[in-house]
C-alpha cells in the first residue's frame, strides 16, 4: 500500500500517527457527534477521543481505542488539538464515500505537534490524496463531573426500541422528560407538545431492557434541541446506557459496532433544564413553590432519607 511506503524518518517528526484500513471506521463515528463545526481531539496511548460541545450544556464524546487502529503511535502522554470537524469529514469522504464492498478508503492521520496542521493521507484504488487541515488551540472541554459513584439510576436498553421512540418524539415539545423509577412507570420518555402530551414507557422486565438499576424515582427534563443530535449516535448503536446522577445530569452511552465488528463508544452528557428539573425526593407541588436547582441540591443532601409525604406547612417552615 502506498501509504506504508513512507520512510521511518518521516514518522519520527510526528507526535501522533494513526492508521486505519477503512476510514469509515472513524468517519461514521464522527458523524454521530457532528452537531457543531469544531471538535477537540485528544489522544493518549489508550486511543483517540473526539469531543464536541454545545453551549456548555451538551457534550458528545467519541472514543476510538488504540486497538481499532491498524497503527497507533503516540510520542507524548497526551496530544490535543482542535479542528473543523466538517472539513475533516469532507476529507475523509473525499473519494465519494462509496459503499461498494471490498473498496474502502485507507487513512493515515499524522500530527506533528502544536502549531502544525493535521495531515491526512487518504488512499483508494491506488490514488492518494493528502489533506492538511489547520489546527487550533484546543479548548478545555467542560468537566460535567459525572462520576459513576454518583449515578442514581441506570438502564441499558437495546437501541432498536429506543430508536423507534426517538423517531416518533413530538418535536413541538421543547423538552424531553425522562423518568426513571424503581416502581411504575420504570423508564418513561415524555413530551409536552402542541397537541397534548405523550409518554413512552419501558417496563423493567421488557426483553429490550438489558439492565435495570433504579434506586430512586427521578424525573428530569432536558431541552429537546440539545438531545436531538444524539439520535445520530442512537441510529448507529446497538445498545444504549442511560444514566442520571443525583443532580439530574444525563449520560447517554452508545455502543457502536463499526464495519469490522469492533466496538467503539459514543457518549453524550446533558444538563437538565434548570427551570423544571427536580429530584424525586422533593417532588412537591407546594402552593406553586418553585425550587431552584441550587436549592434542590441543598435539599437533596438534607432530605435524602425523608419520606416523600410531608406536609406543605412543614416544608415551608424548613425553608425559611
Amino acid at each position: 500500500m502506498p501509504l506504508s511506503t513512507q520512510s521511518q524518518a518521516d514518522d519520527e517528526q510526528y507526535v501522533l500517527v494513526a492508521s486505519l484500513d477503512n476510514a469509515r471506521n472513524l468517519s461514521n463515528l464522527l458523524k454521530a457527534i457532528t452537531f457543531k463545526d469544531h471538535a477537540i481531539f485528544s489522544a493518549t496511548p489508550n486511543g483517540l477521543k473526539v469531543t464536541v460541545e454545545e453551549s456548555k450544556c451538551l457534550q458528545a464524546n467519541a472514543f476510538i481505542q488504540a486497538e481499532i487502529f491498524q497503527e497507533f503511535t503516540i510520542r507524548e502522554d497526551s496530544v490535543g488539538f482542535q479542528v473543523n470537524l466538517t472539513v475533516l469529514l469532507d476529507c475523509l469522504s473525499i473519494f465519494g464515500g462509496s459503499t461498494v464492498p471490498g473498496v474502502s478508503t485507507a487513512l493515515r492521520m499524522c500530527y506533528r505537534g502544536y502549531g502544525y496542521p493535521l495531515t491526512l493521507f487518504l488512499e483508494e484504488g491506488g490514488v492518494v490524496t493528502v489533506c492538511k487541515i489547520n489546527t487550533q488551540e484546543p479548548e478545555e472541554p467542560v468537566d460535567f463531573e459525572f462520576c459513576s459513584t454518583n449515578v442514581t439510576n441506570k438502564v441499558i436498553l437495546q437501541s432498536e426500541s429506543l430508536k423507534e421512540a426517538f423517531s416518533e418524539l413530538d418535536m413541538t415539545s421543547e423538552v424531553l422528560q425522562i423518568t426513571m423509577s424503581p416502581s411504575q412507570p420504570y423508564f418513561r420518555l415524555s413530551t409536552f407538545g402542541n397537541s397534548g402530551n405523550a409518554h413512552y414507557d419501558y417496563p423493567k422486565d421488557s426483553d429490550m431492557m438489558e439492565l435495570f438499576r433504579c434506586d430512586k424515582t427521578q424525573t428530569n427534563r432536558y431541552k429537546m434541541s440539545l438531545l436531538k443530535p444524539s439520535t445520530k449516535a442512537l441510529a448507529l448503536s446497538c445498545k444504549v446506557s442511560v444514566r442520571t446522577d443525583s443532580r439530574g445530569f444525563l449520560s447517554l452511552q452508545y455502543l457502536v459496532r463499526n464495519d469490522d465488528g469492533q466496538i467503539c463508544f459514543v457518549e453524550y452528557f446533558c444538563c437538565p433544564d434548570e427551570e423544571y428539573s427536580c429530584c424525586g425526593c422533593l417532588h412537591l407541588d407546594v402552593n406553586g413553590l418553585l425550587l431552584s436547582r441550587r436549592l434542590e441540591d441543598v435539599c437533596c443532601d438534607v432530605f435524602d432519607y425523608l419520606h416523600l409525604s410531608f406536609s406543605p406547612l412543614c416544608f415551608q417552615h424548613l425553608l425559611h
Binding site: 423507534e164 397534548g196 402530551n197 405523550a198 409518554h199 421488557s206 429490550m208
Partner: protein
C-alpha cells in the same frame, strides 16, 4: 368512552384517519351506539367523509352513558399517534382509546411489543355534530367496482389536477380532466379514459349524466380502499348533486361525499366574482326559491341529537361559514340564493371558483343567535333518510 382495538384493526383505524386527513384538518369524533363515527369536512364544506366503526370492530366498546359526546381534535395530532404505519402491524398489539371528560383529554394508549407502551393524551374541543344527510339509494346511477380499477384510472391524471369529470352512458364510463372554460385552450392537455361496464361489479345507469368533482379528495378514499381491498360503490345523480363513494364491510362503513359542479350557466357566470367576505343574508323568502338544479344536503348543526321539527325559515349558511376564519378565504361553495345577488368583487381567488353546488344547506336560526346558541331547528330539504349502517 372506552374502546380497545386489537391486531390488524389498529392499522385499519390508522389508515382511515389518514384518509380523513386528506379531507379536512380536524377529526370529529362521535361515539354512538351504532359504532364510533370519525368524520371530517373540508373548509369550504364541499367534501365530507365519515367512517363508522361498528362495535364489533373493537374488542371492547363502551360509550359515555346518558349523554351524547362529540369532540373534534386536530387531525395531525391523531396522526402523530399512529406514525410509522408500516411498522404498526408488526409492533402494535392493541390500541386503547379512553375519554377523560373532566380534563378534556382523549387518551390513545398503544400497547406494543416488548412491553413498550405509548400513551398520547390529546386535548380536544367540544364540537357540534357533523353529519351530512343524503340518500344515495335514490340516485340515478350506481356502480360498484374493485378499488384497483379506480386507482389504476386515477393514476393517469397528474397529482396537481383539481377536478375530474365522470360521465356515463349505458355501457361506458368516461373519466376526463376538467379544464376551465377560460383557460388557454392551446395549452390545456386533455386526458380521457374510458371504462367498459364489464370492468365493474355493478353498473346501473338510469341517467346519462356527467358530474365534475374534486379528484384530490377522492384519492384519500382510494388509498384506504386499496389497502383494505373492499369494493367501492359510487352513486351520483345530476350535476350539482353530490357524488357519494362508499365502502362497507361487516364492521365498518366509509362514506365520502363530494360536491359536484352544477350545470347552471347562471352560476358559472357569477362564480368568478364570488367574494371572500360574506354578502348580507338575503331575506328568508329567497331561500325557498333555490335553483332546482342544486340538491340541498342539509347539514345538521344542532347539538340536540337527531333532526327536530321544521322551524321558521332560516337565513343561508354563508354567515356561519364566514364566521369560521378558515373558511373565509377559501370559499368553494355558496348557498344558491346568494349567487344571484352576489355582485361584490373578488378580493381573493378561492382555489376552485366554480364549485357552486350546495352541499350543506342552511339550517341556522336567525342571525342574532348565530354563533352563540345551539341550533334547535332545521329545515331538511333533502329526503330525510339517514345513511345506512352496514
Amino acid at each position: 368512552m372506552d374502546c380497545v382495538v386489537t391486531g390488524g384493526n389498529v392499522k385499519v383505524l390508522a389508515k382511515a384517519i389518514n384518509s380523513l386527513s386528506r379531507i379536512g384538518d380536524e377529526l370529529y369524533v362521535e361515539p354512538q351506539e351504532e359504532g364510533l363515527a370519525l368524520r371530517s369536512v373540508n373548509s369550504s364544506r364541499s367534501a365530507y367523509a365519515c367512517f363508522l366503526f361498528a362495535p364489533l370492530f373493537f374488542s371492547r366498546y363502551t360509550i359515555p352513558r346518558g349523554h351524547t359526546f362529540r369532540c373534534k381534535i386536530a387531525i395531525k395530532s391523531v396522526q402523530a399517534v399512529f406514525r410509522s404505519l408500516a411498522t404498526l402491524e408488526k409492533t402494535v398489539e392493541k390500541c386503547h382509546i379512553e375519554l377523560d371528560e373532566q380534563k378534556n383529554r382523549l387518551t390513545f394508549t398503544l400497547h406494543c411489543k416488548h412491553g413498550l407502551m405509548k400513551t398520547h393524551n390529546l386535548s380536544f374541543q367540544d364540537s357540534e355534530s357533523l353529519q351530512a344527510v343524503f340518500d344515495k339509494d335514490s340516485y340515478a346511477n350506481v356502480f360498484r367496482c374493485n378499488p384497483r380499477l379506480l386507482v389504476d384510472t386515477v393514476v393517469h391524471f397528474p397529482p396537481s389536477l383539481e377536478e375530474v369529470t365522470v360521465s356515463v352512458s349505458d355501457e361506458r364510463m368516461w373519466f376526463r380532466n376538467h379544464v376551465e372554460e377560460d383557460a388557454d385552450q392551446s395549452k390545456a392537455m386533455l386526458t380521457e379514459l374510458c371504462l367498459a361496464s364489464e370492468e365493474f361489479d355493478h353498473f346501473g345507469v338510469k341517467a346519462h349524466n356527467g358530474v365534475t368533482f374534486c379528484l384530490k379528495e377522492l384519492r384519500g378514499l382510494l388509498v384506504f380502499a386499496e389497502s383494505t381491498g373492499l369494493p367501492i360503490s359510487m352513486y351520483f345523480d345530476e350535476p350539482g348533486s353530490p357524488v357519494v363513494l362508499s365502502l362497507t364491510d361487516s364492521v365498518l362503513e366509509g362514506n365520502f361525499v363530494l360536491a359536484t359542479l352544477s350545470d347552471d350557466p347562471n352560476h358559472r357566470k357569477n362564480n368568478p366574482r364570488r367574494a371572500c367576505t360574506p354578502p348580507p343574508p338575503p331575506p328568508p323568502d329567497d331561500f325557498m326559491n333555490d335553483d332546482i338544479d342544486c340538491y340541498l344536503i342539509a347539514m345538521d348543526t344542532s347539538i340536540a341529537p337527531g333532526p327536530s321539527g321544521a322551524g321558521p325559515p332560516t337565513p343561508p349558511l354563508s354567515d356561519s361559514l364566514c364566521s369560521k376564519p378558515s373558511a373565509a378565504a377559501n370559499h368553494r361553495t355558496r348557498p344558491h340564493s346568494e349567487e344571484e345577488e352576489d355582485e361584490t368583487a373578488d378580493s381573493g381567488r378561492p382555489p376552485n371558483k366554480k364549485f357552486c353546488s350546495l352541499f350543506f344547506g342552511s339550517v341556522l336560526p336567525a342571525s342574532s343567535q348565530m354563533t352563540t346558541q345551539p341550533v334547535t331547528s332545521q329545515q331538511v330539504l333533502a329526503s330525510d333518510s339517514e345513511e345506512d349502517v352496514q
